[in-house]
């Protein structure tokens, strides 16, 4: 079987304060994913290699890593796609806890900050809302986010300022704002209007490029800017 070289950035905080690179030659075929290669290393070469993974079918969002400098899901990237040595690093713009494991806390805080749940006064009803396929289609794409964090690694603005709510959180806010069943937009706008809300975004657009689920967060964030502008304008006249 042919092998390919994976060059992995290791970080073992109990041994050293600085990361180092380690190479592994991994057997592969046409179907071998980066995740499978990592599993091979862990099981057969170096048991101390640490990374997150779970579903291996691109839906749980655990296994994001930088592959040759691009944020990727390990389970949905394949060794066959890379001609030379493959460089694997932890997701960019996050603190690293160990090897390929990043600290996700700030990401979760940002998600929670936008009140990502349906806000509706008539909550006790035992009937479903009516929602036509067209109303559903308005937000459905933005509800497909798997919280993998790749878009945060693709976003230089988040890299420069981790307080920026970031693509996934703003997309989630927009998803609920667009939902015909929701009445919570006014509450969410306060977060979106902040400087660390939609206005930090400069539409680099790379977040949408790397999104493994084609959610198009850049579109959501910039639609959010339109909403925010409207909201600010309306508030101006209300005073």
């Amino acid at each position: 079987m042919t092998t390919k070289r994976l060059s992995i950035q290791r970080y073992l905080p109990e041994q050293s304060k600085t990361p180092f690179w380690q190479d592994f030659d991994v057997p592969f075929d046409d179907s071998t994913s980066i995740l499978e290669a990592l599993n091979h290393i862990k099981e057969d070469m170096d048991g101390s290699l640490s990374y997150r993974w779970s579903c291996r079918m691109a839906i749980c969002g655990s296994c994001g890593v930088m592959v040759n400098g691009e944020p990727k899901l390990g389970c949905k990237s394949f060794l066959r796609e890379y001609p030379g040595t493959i460089k694997i690093e932890p997701l960019a713009h996050f603190p690293v806890q160990k090897d390929l494991i990043i600290d996700m806390e700030i990401f979760l805080e940002h998600l929670a900050a936008v009140q990502p749940y349906l806000i509706n006064d008539s909550e006790d009803s035992t009937q479903t809302h009516k929602q036509t396929p067209a109303q559903l289609a308005k937000y459905l794409k933005f509800s497909d986010c798997i919280n993998c964090g790749l878009c945060y690694s693709a976003c230089p603005q988040f890299g420069l300022n981790p307080e920026f709510l970031g693509p996934a959180a703003l997309t989630l806010a927009h998803r609920y704002n667009l939902d015909s069943r929701d009445q919570g937009k006014a509450q969410r706008m306060a977060q979106l209007n902040r400087e660390e809300g939609v206005w930090t975004c400069t539409f680099v657009g790379y977040c949408s490029e790397v999104c493994p689920k084609s959610v198009d967060p850049a579109a959501a964030v910039n639609q959010g800017k339109v909403e925010s502008a409207k909201d600010l304008l309306i508030n101006l006249f209300k005073r």
Partner: protein, 594 residues
Amino acid sequence: MQHRDADIVIVGGGGAGLRAAIAAAEHAREEGIEQRILMLSKVYPMRSHTVAAEGGAAAVTSEEDTLEAHFEDTVAGSDWLAEQGVVDYFIRHAHRELVQLERWGCPWSRKPDGSIQVRRFGGMKTARTWFAADKTGFHILHTLFQTSLKYPEIERLDEYFVLDVATVEGKVAGVIALQVATGELILLRAKSVILATGGAGRLFQFNTNAGIVTGDGMAMAYRQGAALRDMEFVQYHPTGLPGTGILITEACRGEGGLLLNKDGYRYLQDYGLGPETPLGEPKNKYMELGPRDKLSQAFWQEQKAGRTGKFADNDVVYLDLRHLGKEYLHERLPFICELAQAYINVDPVTEPIPIRPAVHYTMGGIETDAQCETSLKGLYAAGECASVGLHGANRLGSNSLSELLVFGRLAGEQASHRAAATAYADIESLQQQVQDQERQVARLRDADGLESWVGLKREMVQAMEDGCGIYRDEQGMQAALNRIRDLKSRYHNIKLSDRSRIYNTELLQCIELGFGLDIAEATCLAALNRRESRGAHQRLDAGLEQRDDINFLQHSQVFFNADAPAELRWQDVDTRFSAPAVRAYGDAGKGARK
């Protein structure tokens, strides 16, 4: 060791755990009491395996459907091994739960008039499966997770690996957990504990499950004296991708997909599921819409007869969706199109998908009563880790998502109710158990034996695949049981290469392996002693190929025995509404169904 208190501790952040957490919070609010709810998960909740469920969630919805029909389908699907009182409760509460999810924002697929759309599923008399395209589990999980953020009384401890349930004199007292980020242990004292840790599909080599589905909660409860019930019933999903086992949803067949052997023949008609239904007119309970156990068994027979095709090293049959057309496929089954393209480079619009059965679901689990309580007072279980008695010998597709909602909620309410009337256990009484865990973790972390945990794990999954597959025989199951027992003793002589504390994922995998071996033993033992064929447990041994209601209309119960062999007992089945009858599908089932 650090310690914290919470009225209710929930282990697992998947569908059942999240539903339980919200239910507990709501219940406490309604009762006007203040309760703290701690939810522990070894991963972030969004990573839980509920996320991978695709097809949908069942509940009686349309005018022409009836609760009786859902009851009958579920009981017949279970080969009469379901607890009928539990099934009755389930079918009555499923619809309410799906509506509740809608009220929380779940993006269910809709009809043009804006009402809920339902689809066909295997073994169901009529279309009653709610769906959100083919990412139903994903949307349910994220809706629940996001909704849980509304409740400040729910505190999450993400990436905490629970090692043991703390008990005092047969009553639950909390859990002992390892914080993955630091490697430190913590005692979480609680008045009620809910296990919602999922199934154990990872005991098998070829499965549709995520890496985390290692049966941890089952093993914890089992080691503390709760019974594992009906563990011999392991569901093989008929349609997994070759190589990886990635799930290709039953909804493909619900939408009209065909199963073909290598000759392009719809072989299911030869296995009591016919006659062949016309293209584009799927018929409930016929052909491709038969139950999972029957379909997986049909694959095995085709494979034996040499009528399966090849995909790389795998024997496969073909799932043909081409006649549904691109637009329909991309609307109803977008994830399936994405998965087939990414993992086997097949576009379902133009080519049939090669598929083969893969282990999918653990019908058995921690025995609970109809209120989700285990034999340990204050310890509840819900979802796949539990055996509340809904699925019996075979689960129907789309009953499990509804199950985790119905029983997640019930467990949450019960746990809250109990916590209100219970005091914390004396901390001194827990010291011994805590120290035991500390010792065990330290010993494992520094283990320098001769056995590689990887080797043991590989032997375990191979043994289970060999001995407890789609068809089983005495010799194979005995060999598997012997091998598992041998592996259990070798586990004491294990070796780790990572001695660190921070994110020592190797240590966690070793602990999971230890859990897995205990459950594997229970599974083999129950399988070996069920000397009949029922649902997902099919024997090739002469004279045991049929169901035997005289001797085996019984649940198996396996009890843990430390280092001695596990102990098997039998328990009566609740058949209060429907006496066992012939389980038939296709035209053969017509008479039975009326």
